[in-house]
Symmetry: C2
Subunit: 372 residues, 2 copies
Amino acid sequence: MEQHTPFTLLGRSSECAARRGEVRTRQGVIQTPVFMPVGTQGTVKAVTPENLAEMKAQIILGNTYHLFIRPGHELIERFGGLHSFMNWKGSILTDSGGFQIFSLKELAKITEEGAAFRSHLDGAKLFLSPENAIHVQQALGSDIMMCLDTCIPFPATRDETVAATDLTTRWAKRCREAHDKRDRLLFGIVQGGMFPELRREHAAALIDIGFDGYAIGGLSVGEEKQLMHEMTEATVPALPADYPVYLMGVGTPADLVEGVWRGVDMFDCVMPTRNARNGALFTSKGKISIKNARFRDDSSPLDEECSCYTCRNYSRAYLSHLFHAREILSYHLNTIHNLHYYLNLMADIRGAIETDSFTRFRHDFYSKLEHE
Amino acid sequence: MEQHTPFTLLGRSSECAARRGEVRTRQGVIQTPVFMPVGTQGTVKAVTPENLAEMKAQIILGNTYHLFIRPGHELIERFGGLHSFMNWKGSILTDSGGFQIFSLKELAKITEEGAAFRSHLDGAKLFLSPENAIHVQQALGSDIMMCLDTCIPFPATRDETVAATDLTTRWAKRCREAHDKRDRLLFGIVQGGMFPELRREHAAALIDIGFDGYAIGGLSVGEEKQLMHEMTEATVPALPADYPVYLMGVGTPADLVEGVWRGVDMFDCVMPTRNARNGALFTSKGKISIKNARFRDDSSPLDEECSCYTCRNYSRAYLSHLFHAREILSYHLNTIHNLHYYLNLMADIRGAIETDSFTRFRHDFYSKLEHE
């Protein structure tokens, strides 16, 4: 099949691999580099779609595994897809479910055919094949679908890594063949563990099959930051420059800066939302814990430099009170702040690449950090 | 001291005691009859002040006991009062803390001087006198303060009721004397248990002291609805017609209709917010439980007649999914719906009184109910 790229390159840094681009989905155009908030169960936890729109979120991620189990992709399809079901007008990327099934450990069994697993909710026996993973994502109405991949434990031997990566390639072919809705995008996932040459080989194998974009999978699984950066550096140059590159499940604000530096266009992570619910909040000076007693009487906003709804209207003392009182509003306000921080960071990064000042931006980013 | 009423009578029903009025606070003018959402710990649970404003909430209730214990009234005073601390621009009524202390049962000891009690959070020994209850409410920046009252268990003997009611009168005098911020309103609370003549006597005693409004306390404590209505009917005519009447802690939608019918101007209750979090939702046809399996695949909104944010944007199936998945958005969307239902009911009641069609309104209200 002839492949058309959904990516338009708008500019690149003269000093690193950072690039400014656009990804076209049937839902609209996404400005990259982009961060995608995670909406596991048909909602980005603790915020509304209007909150996301106000923060200028462009695309969110839905978890196929969770939605497959509850409420079921068929129900969501009857409701016109996930966009309509959850009232989200932006784009949606769905993962394939592979990572979650892999996380079930002894509840999952991987064969050539696919992944047999038991629901974490009720123990029901379920099966996801590569074809099925595509059909479920199509039913969900996903704009960007991901191939079913096998995840590789860390650490893993070279032999284990080769075997799992080869299976991912065979599954990727089957996903590509099952993909019959051409208005949706399908991304391949580069595995290869912590072996640079396996990463490069796998990238070549996936390019051979041909996808609308390429993801770097199997990172941020417990390895050192340096190793994660090395694997990114090994993979990105092996991918076609005119297709979007997505670093899956990454990461901290610094990880985003470093990923962009190395040529990544798309990121997702539960960190801003999950941390928010635990009271860990991102600021221009680093991460703070709102649990800390010193905030109980602090009349300043979370971050003096932040323009989010939470920072415009509430003091650290109030947020401290809500957190200690376990009020639902605490999760809401903290999540708005953290997502705004991530989305605003990406907007600033895009601006810096446009003016070819990303090196300076990265330097300033680190020099402001106090707490981490 | 000369007493000026904050109440303006705008109209009354020709067929019952229902009346349309306004209560002036330093924060603005409240259209009555009015329902006051409860914001126990410095937030109406699961919604923002903007959500409340969008639903046209005019006044909310803050719980003195809870705020006294955490984060403390002195901290809130340093932050410019509760309005500023929690970012709420409407009016605030604070209770006195009496009811919550009474609910602590064996942790509380009532003497002539006041109420000694232990914090439900850490067991700390605390004391609230009538004077102190006023000073704490002043520190909170309350627009409408309540006298510290003693609560009467149900059932109670006549002797027990007389003793507790007389103590409430003596405390009310002390509250009145301690009340030195004349831009705030102070309401007396009529007790008298389930004895109509004690209710009337107590009303007279409080009128003698002189307050800016009068509350009916000690109802909705486990008695039959009929008895609650009888006590309301015994009390309202004993109160001055040119002052606001507030029925504390009441109640169901039908209780509001019946309270208005008997001349009540103000209500508060945790029912819409608490029920929302338990999945019990109010509709024009009665209460439904979103837990019910029949809603899993139901594409209709919660209430076809409702114009709230939740009903405009989400299906029962989506709300069912969020509830079963225990998503925070479930509490948020359900609370918006239930509060909108209550506030909209009161707006409709005000409209019906204005056109002297409240009898018809009440008849229609009951004839539409299917589920309850």
